[in-house]
């Protein structure tokens, strides 16, 4: 029951206004509609139960049962009290300006790195998928560099780039860039050859095929790539911030560890989780907006 009801709700509850008259540019209607469906389904409540279970386990293991390896760890009450304290013991809570400074610095790094990764990764992926010759030149190098994890780039990044900011952004950029470029390339390669042939029949030039078939056809994969990309950007950002930099959430976690501020570590981690979740959701929202055709197909229960 719980599994089928959201699906059947999707099929039957699509208001005719959306199914028949929707026009490009009103994707918010769809987002709102989805939100309403979501609230009516059991999913938000299951989600709350999941979180309650998680927090409950943490609370019991640390504060009630005091399990052996958990003795050093901060319990949820301690963390929450610190997090929302106007006068935090370890100097970081939602009332200290520093907290927002750390968030802001991390988000700014993510934004710059994600922007660069998208601006370079999407065109590169499109050309990799579009031109066999170009792929033969570039792809082997790409595949050779891709398995090298961002952490392994740390020394070179510090040598290559000046200051403390650019190395971190470079490290953050790397993993994002691979994810975006690779998914975009797969997106182009996944396009049914019939679409290209149909466009050729209808008199489209090579450039028009690229613009009207290849780019929109690869779009679903591109956005899958961007969602992965923004996720892995956070991974490598924290790695980068632990190594260099004076601000940022990764920096908070690392310095709190060396200075034995355990609740602050968890505040840093939880904030990372929240902010990371919001950035992924934002990318998905932009994707929905740009791919109305897909959103609506899915809302109707899968067109084809």
């Amino acid at each position: 029951m719980t599994e089928t009801s959201p699906v059947s709700a999707l099929r039957t509850d699509v208001p005719p206004a959306i199914a028949v008259q929707a026009r490009p540019g009103i994707s918010l209607t769809l987002t709102k509609h989805r939100l309403a469906l979501w609230l009516r389904s059991p999913r938000p409540y299951l989600m709350l139960v999941g979180f309650a279970g998680f927090l409950g386990f943490w609370y019991l293991s640390v504060e009630v049962w005091k399990l052996p390896r958990f003795s050093q760890m901060s319990g949820p009450t301690e963390v929450l009290r610190e997090w929302f304290s106007e006068d935090p013991t370890y100097g970081l809570s939602i009332f200290t300006p520093e907290y927002y400074m750390h968030i802001w610095v991390s988000i700014r790094r993510i934004a710059i790195a994600f922007f660069l990764a998208t601006a370079i990764g999407v065109p590169l992926g499109l050309f990799l998928g579009w031109s066999e010759r170009f792929k033969q030149f570039v792809f082997p190098v790409f595949e050779f560099l891709r398995p090298v994890p961002p952490l392994a780039w740390v020394p070179l990044a510090i040598v290559m780039f000046k200051g403390s900011e650019t190395p971190v952004i470079f490290l953050t950029f790397l993993a994002s860039f691979y994810a975006t470029a690779l998914n975009t390339m797969l997106g182009v390669e996944s396009i049914d050859v019939s679409y290209v042939r149909a466009a050729n029949c209808l008199g489209a030039t090579r450039w028009q095929v690229f613009r009207h078939v290849i780019v929109p056809g690869a779009m679903p994969f591109i956005f899958t790539g961007l969602q992965i990309s923004v996720g892995v950007a956070w991974f490598s950002l924290v790695a980068g911030e632990m190594v260099s930099g004076q601000y940022g959430l990764g920096y908070v976690i690392n310095t709190s560890y060396t200075m034995v501020r355990y609740p602050t570590i968890i505040i840093g981690m939880a904030t990372l989780g929240l902010v990371g979740y919001v950035t992924s959701a934002a990318v998905r929202l932009v994707g929905d907006y740009l791919m109305q055709w897909r959103t609506r197909e899915l809302a109707l229960g899968g067109g084809q």
């Binding site: 019939s194 466009a199 029949c201 489209a204 055709w293 897909r294 197909e297 067109g303």
Partner: protein, 290 residues
């Protein structure tokens, strides 16, 4: 060129046969792979598609009919022989691959409406890409043609929001927008259920009577072939070559009552053995390959 004049041309439903759109397939051979070791798909194939008529090619799956269509459309090269559209050589000695163009438009087996464009954006795609019409002209004509084909009210929907039958009709209208000389249909109704299929057959004939464009139609469904075709070409299994060519003298316009007539059944009887024989050969060949 012809597209330009189409804008001003009166689209009256007159049944005057088109003078254009004849295709001559002349001793065409297609081998996949090397000439001596490769697979022979089309073997010295010669027949004609009369201008303004529906020619249906019937043969077992994988017999090489689609290879022939791809050669006409310009998706694949041929190995030898030649193909003419009216008096223009599409491919032949010295130019083994035709150039795809809006004078021959393919309607694909699984449909190839762009799912990321609305129906009307799909329909106007040809003229817009070719720069043959302004945006306003293209949209006006598209709306008129879609209304004509019973497709009013779905212009701004995406193909994924409409039924597969509607999608096929939109795709045919998208082709007709370019005033093609010939439509190349590659088993366009294969994926449809039989009820939708029968509706689609009548819809296709209606569109055909209004537009009088030559049609090259591929299928493995004999009933469909005889119902639609002025001429039915039955192919041998791979390598493909015409085995039997029939002129179906059941008068047009046809509708579904034709299916129960004596003449229709005579054609079925005359051809069903030939088709069955090839199907058995194809099946046996498939067994051998395993």
């Amino acid at each position: 060129m012809s597209v330009q004049s189409a804008v001003t041309q009166d689209r009256s439903p007159a049944l005057q046969p088109a003078r254009k759109g004849g295709v001559r397939i002349n001793d065409v051979v297609k081998t996949y792979g090397a000439e001596d070791t490769g697979v022979l798909a089309v073997d010295h194939c010669t027949f004609e598609v009369q201008p303004g008529e529906i020619t249906v090619v019937v043969g077992p799956s994988g017999c090489g009919k689609t290879t022939l269509l791809n050669a006409i459309a310009g998706f694949h090269s041929i190995t030898s022989g030649s193909i003419y559209l009216d008096d223009e050589m599409l491919c032949g000695p010295g130019k083994l691959k035709a150039q795809p163009g809006p004078d021959r438009i393919v309607v694909f087996q699984n449909g190839a409406l762009f799912p990321w464009k609305t129906n009307i954006e799909n329909v106007t795609f040809g003229p817009m890409m070719q720069g043959a019409m302004t945006r306003a002209e293209a949209y006006d004509r598209a709306r008129a043609m879609m209304a004509d084909a019973g497709l009013r009210g779905i212009e701004r929907n995406y193909p994924g929001e409409t039924s597969s039958g509607v999608r096929r009709r939109v795709e045919i209208v998208r082709a007709l927008m370019n005033n093609p000389k010939i439509l190349l249909l590659d088993e366009p109704y294969r994926a449809l259920d039989s009820l939708t299929k029968s509706v689609m057959h009548e819809a296709l004939l209606e569109i055909f009577y209004k537009n009088r464009v030559s049609v090259f139609f591929i299928t493995h469904d004999l009933e469909e072939a005889i119902f639609l075709g002025h001429r039915v070409v039955i192919m041998t299994t791979r390598p493909c070559r015409p085995k039997k060519i029939l002129d179906i003298d059941i008068p047009h316009p046809r509708d579904y009552s034709v299916l129960t007539t004596k003449r229709f059944r005579e054609f079925m009887e005359e051809t069903v053995a030939a088709v069955h024989e090839e199907a058995i050969k194809a099946f046996a060949a498939g067994e051998k390959e395993r």
